[in-house]
């Protein structure tokens, strides 16, 4: 047992010197490769941010902006869109001088507090925790990185493929079309016009999406004390209590009034002014009647 241990002081000194030299060489090696390592780690951690953002987007954003980020008519705008990613596109139209990353991050964090000039059924909620939302700052950054990761796909879109819808808040000189049209796309059919086209009665099941109802009202969930819709009442069991909300109004009359004049009666606990006031002009009388019947029909 004793024999295997080094006893000679000279050998010990030699081993010590060798050890010190080897340590120095190792550290020099690390020094030599540090730039490579840091670059790799930078790429790695920004990739992981995108992975985290993907989960956040799927859980929180995909419901309105679509799982592929291409938006939903009347509910939320497309993000995976050529218009959204070009400097002369969305940023120029809203007059935002910062970077697209800042724009997305700000919008995710603060939401869209105003509904002025908005065609969307629901305003963009506030997500950042510093404004009272559910996401921490790092999560807001993650989801922003994920949205920006569409850049390559979005910039490859031809004007025809661009899923964006004309924003109502874009102020264009009279006679000029939106940017995508200038770039050569067919002018997208204006939303309002299709609504008033004679003879084209849209089915109620389409209307709840087109008009953006499902952005706030959940159709498959009942409105109960323990299960209240966060922004607007759930409509799963609408038929059960529509007739009892307002004295003197039948279920049909109540629902019709709620669509055409949302401010006439607001269910306790919800705010007036969130639901658009102009559905009467966006849908024909026939469509509204059909929608009322459909909403009250338990088998929809």
């Amino acid at each position: 047992m004793q024999g295997i241990f080094v006893k000679s002081p000279i050998l010990k000194i030699a081993l010590g010197i060798l050890g010190a030299l080897a340590s120095i060489i190792l550290l020099l090696f690390v020094l030599r490769t540090e730039d490579m390592r840091m670059a790799d780690q930078t790429v790695n951690w920004s990739a992981r941010k995108i992975e985290n953002g993907a989960i956040l987007f799927a859980n929180n954003c995909a419901k309105c902006h679509g799982p592929d980020g291409k938006g939903q008519l009347g509910v939320a705008p497309a993000l995976n869109s050529h218009y959204f990613f070009t400097k002369t596109g969305r940023l120029a139209d809203v007059g935002f001088v910062g970077s697209l990353e800042d724009y997305v991050r700000l919008t995710v964090a603060a939401g869209r507090p105003s509904k002025a000039n908005s065609q969307w059924a629901q305003r963009m909620p506030t997500w950042g925790s510093q404004f009272g939302g559910p996401l921490r700052d790092d999560q807001v950054v993650d989801v922003t990185k994920y949205v920006l990761n569409w850049r390559e796909d979005a910039l490859a879109q031809t004007p025809d493929e661009d899923p964006f819808q004309p924003f109502q808040d874009v102020k264009k000189p009279v006679g000029e079309q939106s940017l995508a049209v200038l770039m050569g796309a067919e002018p997208p059919p204006p939303v309002e016009k299709t609504a008033t086209e004679p003879g084209a009665v849209r089915p109620p099941a389409d209307l709840v999406t087109i008009m953006g109802c499902v952005g706030c009202h959940k159709l498959d969930q009942p409105q109960e004390e323990a299960n209240r819709g966060p922004i607007a009442p759930n409509l799963g069991n609408l038929a059960d209590h529509a007739g009892t909300r307002v004295d003197g109004l039948s279920a049909e009359e109540y629902v019709y009034q709620s669509i055409t004049d949302p401010g006439a009666f607001v269910v306790e606990g919800y705010n007036n002014g969130i639901m658009p006031q102009d559905f009467a002009t966006k849908m024909s009388e026939e469509e509204i009647r059909g929608l009322v019947d459909w909403l009250l029909n338990g088998k929809r």
Binding site: K12, I13, L15, G16, L26, V30, M36, Q41, R136
Partner: protein
């Protein structure tokens, strides 16, 4: 004497040599150049011994004994474990101080600081890996040191108090390592420390347990206050306690001398502090050369392991809202976690560790046997070995392998693509995950051998649980890989099965994998180093 006069008397070279010798003697606190040369050449000191002077002149040497008993300096008597523990504490202090430069103990910053350290600080990852490896090695070596002292019976009179301070040092080392666990603020830290502090809650009566828990966490749950408290424990309080007990411990070691191998003295005798002249080995130069060369080689091995083989884990950022599957304690607390699985929190978390600690301290007083020789201490050694084996078995039970089986579907996905860490899917990586829909039912040949292995493992896991569980029949696994974004694939797991009542059940879970991400189990960078090295030795292009 003026310089000019000196040059006139000795000549220029002689004068410079004289000044050099003078400086050398002052720096070494009493060893002249000639004496140093004689030391290296192995010559005996003159009389009076000039090599004793540094022990009285220099602070760092005055705490070292001037000479040791020859038998106590043998490597296989102590294995230098005490020295190593101290040295590791020094490494931890230096790397820890450097790491503090890039770290702030606040939940909003801590995790981002970790990433900053990895991505933006030269030697940042090296420092972090070395600090982590050093911490784990320190726990291991302090424990081994205690085992050695137990097996050689060195805790016996007069060293009972030395043993007590040693037990305190072991506990402080464990707490030091554990308090550092929280600081990266990732899922691993948050949940390990949540489990750890929740054991304090079981201390009776309830008001005491809750108060201790509240004091440690700073709030009912670990948050900003808890992080700050653990940080202060880690960087100030515990190191100070450790330093204090270290000096008491070391003073006692020097005072009584390192106990000699039992066979060299009569039973019940302790001659370690009375060393006959013929048995003396002087610290300068013999022991000093031995210790310095040993530590240098040890440093080299540690650096080698850190650079090429060890990577400190960093999981997702701490999320109090989501408990990851299979939360584990650090390995040195596996035995506690194992006990928590078979006994309640009070017994496993408070009573048994408390009794164990009291027993450990009381060993010198319980063991009345005066002999330190192995053949006289069969009971002590056998019971020590049994205790060690029990700890190992409990430790095995503490790993997720024992008794924490979740639902089969969750376990299957966890095995191949866990929430934290790597798993087979991330190991084979983005490039080996072809887009498409795959099922465990069809036995097509896959072109990519790595993807074929993945599907093989997936099928095997589904079959395994199908055979094992009554509630999991006719199971079928699906794997859908889609291109979600440029450079980002979505990996969707869908497992369907029939439960005991023949009801169809479906489990779905989606993960995303980016082209550029790699996970710490992949040792991605470490492999890169090796590629770089092999390219240096034999360039490919």
């Amino acid at each position: 004497m003026g310089v000019q006069q000196e040059i006139r008397e000795k000549g220029l070279l002689g004068a410079v040599a004289g000044i050099g010798d003078d400086v050398f003697t002052r720096v070494t606190a009493g060893i002249s150049v000639g004496e140093f040369r004689r030391m290296l050449q192995g010559e005996a000191p003159g009389r009076p011994n000039p090599r004793l002077k540094p022990h009285s002149e220099a602070f760092l040497l005055h705490i070292k004994p001037t000479y040791y008993h020859e038998s106590a300096t043998r490597f296989n008597h102590t294995f230098r474990l005490g020295l190593l523990s101290t040295y590791l504490f020094l490494i931890e202090t230096i790397t820890g101080l450097l790491l503090m430069i890039w770290y702030a103990p606040a939940p909003e910053r801590a995790y981002a600081d970790m990433i900053g350290l990895l991505t933006n600080v030269p030697f940042g990852q090296f420092l972090r890996d070395l600090h982590r490896l050093g911490a784990e090695a320190m726990v291991a070596i302090v424990t081994l040191h205690m085992v050695r002292v137990y097996l050689t019976g060195s805790y016996k009179p007069p060293r009972q108090f030395t043993w007590f301070t040693g037990v305190v040092l072991l506990v402080v080392t464990l707490f030091l390592s554990f308090s550092g666990y929280l600081l990266p603020w990732d899922q691993l830290s948050l949940w390990a420390v949540t489990i750890g502090t929740s054991m304090a809650e079981a201390v009776p009566p309830a008001i005491v347990g809750e108060t201790v828990n509240l004091l440690a966490r700073g709030a009912p749950d670990i948050g900003a206050n808890g992080l700050l408290r653990f940080y202060l424990l880690h960087v100030i309080f515990l190191p100070l306690v450790l330093i204090l007990f270290f000096f008491v411990h070391y003073y006692k070691v020097v005072h009584f001398g390192i106990s000699l191998p039992a066979d060299e003295e009569e039973i019940g005798e302790d001659t370690a502090s009375r060393i006959p002249a013929a048995k003396r080995v002087y610290y300068l130069p013999d022991v000093a050369i031995d210790e310095l060369s040993f530590l240098t080689v040890f440093t080299m091995i540690t650096i080698l392991l850190t650079v090429f083989f060890f990577q400190a884990p960093l999981e997702h950022i701490a999320n109090p809202q989501s408990t990851p599957l299979h939360t584990v304690a650090p390995w040195y607390f596996y035995w506690l976690q194992g006990m928590l699985k078979i006994a309640d929190k009070f017994i496993a978390g408070v009573a048994v560790p408390g009794i164990l600690l009291v027993l450990l301290v009381a060993i010198p007083y319980l063991d009345k046997n005066p002999s330190r020789r192995g053949r006289d201490r069969r009971v002590a050694i056998v019971s020590g070995i049994i205790a060690g084996m029990v700890m190992l078995i409990l430790g095995w039970m503490g790993t997720p392998k024992y008794a924490v089986q979740g639902a089969p579907s969750i376990e299957i996905v966890q095995e191949l693509m866990p929430e934290e860490g790597s798993g087979l899917v991330r190991e084979i990586g983005y490039a080996h995950l072809p887009l498409g829909v795959y099922s465990t039912d069809d036995h097509t040949k896959y072109d990519d051998p790595q993807f074929a292995e993945l599907m093989h493992e997936y099928t095997a896991a589904v079959l395994h649980f199908d055979e094992q569980e009554n509630d999991f029949n006719g199971a079928r696994g699906q794997l859908t890989i889609t291109q979600d974004q440029p450079g980002l694939k979505k990996i969707n797991w869908k497992i369907s099965w029939y439960d005991a009542q023949s009801q169809k059940e479906v489990f779905q879970k989606a993960f995303w994998l980016h082209r550029d991400s790699f996970y710490w189990e992949q040792y991605g960078l470490k492999h890169k180093y090796l590629d770089y090295l092999s390219n240096l030795i034999s360039p490919k292009e």
